[in-house]
Structures are given as C-alpha cells and as structure tokens.
C-alpha cells in the first residue's frame, strides 16, 4: 500500500487542555495520502478529542495541524467539510427527525449552490435540477452501503447498526479526501463488523479516501490499518506498523491487558489478534 506516499495530514505537537485536565499533550503523527491510520488507546486517552481537533470541534491549546501543507486551524469548522474532511461520530450524531435520504443529502451541503430563494422557487431557479443531480449521487452511496430499504425512514428510529451506516453514508457524501471514523464497529456483531470492514476497504480502494480511524477491535485494527498510533493519557506511547505496536509491552499493559487468570479465558479474541 501507499507506504511512502505524501503526507495528507500532519499533526504536530498538539496539546489540548480542559481546565486542569490535559486531554492531549504534544501529540504528533502524520497520515499518509491513501493510507488507513488507526488511533487506539484506552478509554479517555484523548482519541476522540484528537478527531475533534482535526474536524474543528475543539481548538488545540497549542500545536499545529497541517493539511496538504496548509494550516487548517485557520479554517472555520464548517469550512473544513469544504476542505475535504468528513467524519462519523462515536455517539451517533444523526439528524434524528430527518429521513435517511435527507441526512445524507446534508453531507452534500457544500456541493450545492441553491439557496433559500432559489430553493423556494424550486422549479425556476435551477434548484430542482441540482437537487435531482445530487439525489443520483446520494443513491449511489445508498446502494453501496445497502441501506435502500430505509431510505425514507426517519434516522432516529433506526437500529444502532443502521444508524452507524447512515453516519458513514453522510460522511461519504461530503466526498472527503480524509474521512475520520470514530469507532465504526462499536456495538456491532461479527456479521455487521464484516460488512463494515468491507465498506472501509472500499472507501480506500474504490473511493480513494484516506482514513483515520479509532477502533477498539484489535482484529479490525490489525487487518485493516497500515499505521497505528497508541494514545494513553493524551500522549502517544507507541506508533508504527500494527504488528509491532500491538506487541509493545507498554501497549499491552495500558491497553490490551496483561494475561490474567480470571480474564484470560475471556479475552481470546483480542489475545489471538496479538499473536
């Protein structure tokens, strides 16, 4: 895979402070164009906060974020979609009362030109043509993610797994160059994880997106990513190729867990992943 490709996103010495709590301290890493970079680490380590810094929800207390050689901190939050950064959320952030279709269409927001005036006129200002064009685009995503049957359902009534897919669809609709996935597999059973894995692979290969993913399922992380960084208490404690990182003693201790009598028998999925 794109092993020494260009750097799409560079995180440089980023720190983030909430009152007395240092959620991130001097984090640095780089995401290569076309790669799949996984961010792992214990709960509360600051992974989501890192994504939030990239997507604009939080502003780092210090440090730099460079996008294609450009400083992203200069861009407002809503501008970053335009730059080509899309994301999904750990705690589902869909528009609950909107239909799945409309949710995904919101992702197209920055690609659409019609405004409230032309929108109201619909037939005459070109809004209709534009909307239908986008609809075609969105339907492709819907087909790809196999959510045709819920197209018209309000997103709020869907089951968890479907909502996760709709979130992915919405992020894809942005046509991002970098897509940030916050625990895409959480709350899914094996079958669904396999589906999701299929989608993520396709995101890279068919849609040519660069992926930055947070995930706790080590099987997934191992199989899919080409680079991994481990955060603990806001600091990067290891980074590099997945096998090497997961073998790291420090990581085992902080994140994966030591071999423990009681837990041992329970932990086989994860254990096997390390082996």
């Amino acid at each position: 895979m794109a092993d020494n490709g260009e750097i799409l996103l560079r995180v440089d010495d980023v720190s983030l402070q909430f009152g007395g709590l240092k959620a991130l301290s001097n984090v640095s890493f780089a995401v290569r164009k076309g790669g799949l970079f996984s961010l792992i680490g214990p709960n509360g380590a600051g992974k989501t906060s890192m994504l939030n810094c990239i997507s604009g929800r939080y502003r780092p207390t210090s440090g730099n974020l460079t996008w294609n050689g450009e400083d992203i901190l200069r861009h407002s939050v809503n501008d970053r979609a335009h730059l080509g950064i899309g994301r999904t959320f750990q705690n589902l952030a869909l528009f609950g009362h909107m239909s799945v279709l409309d949710n995904i269409l919101v992702g197209r927001h920055h690609k659409l030109r019609n405004n409230f005036l032309t929108g109201m006129l619909y037939w005459v200002g070109g809004a209709r043509r534009e909307e239908l064009e986008q609809r075609r685009f969105v339907e492709d995503i819907i087909d790809f993610l196999e959510i045709q049957h819920v197209r018209h359902e309000p997103a709020g009534t869907l089951s968890y797994g479907l909502r996760k897919r709709v979130e992915l669809a919405r992020a894809m609709a942005i046509e991002p160059r970098l897509i940030l996935l916050d625990e895409p597999m959480a709350g899914m059973n094996l079958e669904e994880k396999e589906d999701m894995a299929r989608f993520i692979i396709a995101l890279r290969e068919e849609f040519e997106m660069t992926i930055l993913m947070i995930e706790h399922d080590m099987g997934v992380v191992m199989d899919l990513s080409d680079q991994v960084a481990v955060l603990d208490f806001g600091k990067v404690i290891a980074s590099g190729a997945p096998e090497a990182v997961l073998a790291n003693e420090h990581v085992k201790k902080a994140y994966l867990g030591e071999a423990d009598e009681l837990l041992d028998e329970l932990a086989d999925t994860a254990e096997r992943a390390i082996a």
Binding site: N91, Y160, E183, N189, I201, D223, L266
Partner: protein
Amino acid sequence: MTLTAEQVAESLSKEADDALLSINNVEVIFNGVILVLRGISLNARKGKITALLGANGAGKSTTLKAIAGLLRTDDGEITRGSVTYDGRDVTHTPPDRKVRDGVFLVMEGRGIIQDMTIRDNLRLGAFTRPGANVETEIEEIYRFFPRLKERKGLAGYLSGGEQQMLAIGRAMMAKPRLIMMDEPSMGLSPLLVKEVFGIIRRLNRELGISILLVEQNANMALKISDYGYIMENGKIVLDGSAEELLQNEDVKEFYLGGGEERRSFLNVKSFRRRKRWL
C-alpha cells in the same frame, strides 16, 4: 427429538421454577403501528447469567425496556403477553416499582446524567433505598472502579469507558437482584472489555446478582453466560445452554467468527449463505 406432553409441561414448570424473570409471548408496538417484538418469550434464571444475542435492530433493547417498563417515553406499549418476576405478574407495574423490587436496567448508551457529578450519579443509583449508607457504599464502588474516583467534574465529560463504569457502578448502588445490561462492552477498550466482563461475572458470582445480558460481543458473552437466546427480527430464533450455542454451526458462522482460525477482515465475503433459522 419428540417430547411427550408431560415432558414438555414438566420441563416448562421446572424452568419457571428457577426463572427469576420470565417473559411470555410479549408483543410490542410503537406509535400504535410499528410492530417490533412479535411474541417473544425468555427466562432469566435465578443466580445465573443469561445472554440475549442478536443482530442490530432485532429488538433486544426493546425487550429490555419492555421488561423495565420504560416503553412509554418512547411511545411504545406491550400489546400482548406478560412479564413475570419472582412469580408475580409485573407486565404493567410502574418502572420505579420494579427497581424497588430489584430489577435494574443499565440502558443502552449508558444513560448517565451528564450534567451531574459522578458522585451524584452514584447517589442516584441508591435512590430506591432511602436508608442506605450511601457515602460508604460509594467508596466501595470506587474500589471496584478506581478510575471513577480520580475524575472530577461533570459526568458528561467522562470518556465512553468511564461512563460505562459509572453506569455499572450506579446499578450496583441499587443493590438489585437482577441487572439487565444493554451492550455494556460497547465502545470499551479491550482491557476494559475484559474488566467489564470480569465485573459482570463477579457481580454474579460474588454478589449473587442474576444477570440478563444483551451483547454484540457474542464470544465473550457466551463464555460468561449460562444460557443464551438468539433473537432476530423481533423473535427468538434459537436458544440453549451457552455450551450448546458455542458449538452451534450457525452461531459460529454469524456470531463467533466460525472455524478455529479467526477470519481476516480483509477477505470478507459479501454474499453469505442463508441463516438456517430464518
């Protein structure tokens, strides 16, 4: 295998004997039009861990809410069937009453009160036990979850895993006989997943709390459980002891990741064989 009528009746009454909670043929409809549970029956045995597995949208969370009596806030209602707890019909018992009787639900998404402190959240767990010595009990919970003690401030700023611990800790504060947990391992790091399952087992073994566990992590869930149900599309499609289920071909294929070797996520198939139980 065929059973005689007597045998069936016998096994049923035996089941009912050690069932702490059982639901019979429950049907749930949302908004008066959306049928979500289509007649589902299961038992949670006294002192045992019972797992309820199933795909997304199968209706697991709805089942737990139906048992706890929390459907009203979602505009849903039980239209058929009954819920029996400890030999009594509690189908329409108000939710707070059920908590007082010892049935506690840890909701999906943890349901912590974000704008309160961790301590206040824990205090609320003991709401149904007015006389309790809450402060010392909280210290005990902190021994279970030392991390919670370190974090100050509002619970809403906790990370996902920390929130899950808080939710379990809060359930323990209620000193229930039966805890129902809705996907407790969701979003937790591998270490914590182990810890949480360990805790669940400790709750069960050490404190004798019966547990009804909804999980996506079928592997782990079945390993700590005694009995399991598999649910799809609002119905129970399979049930059996945990060992039986762990050996079942379909369960292996769809829930456990089949075969001896773990399948790599890199070569997943996009077409599968049909599930036999459908």
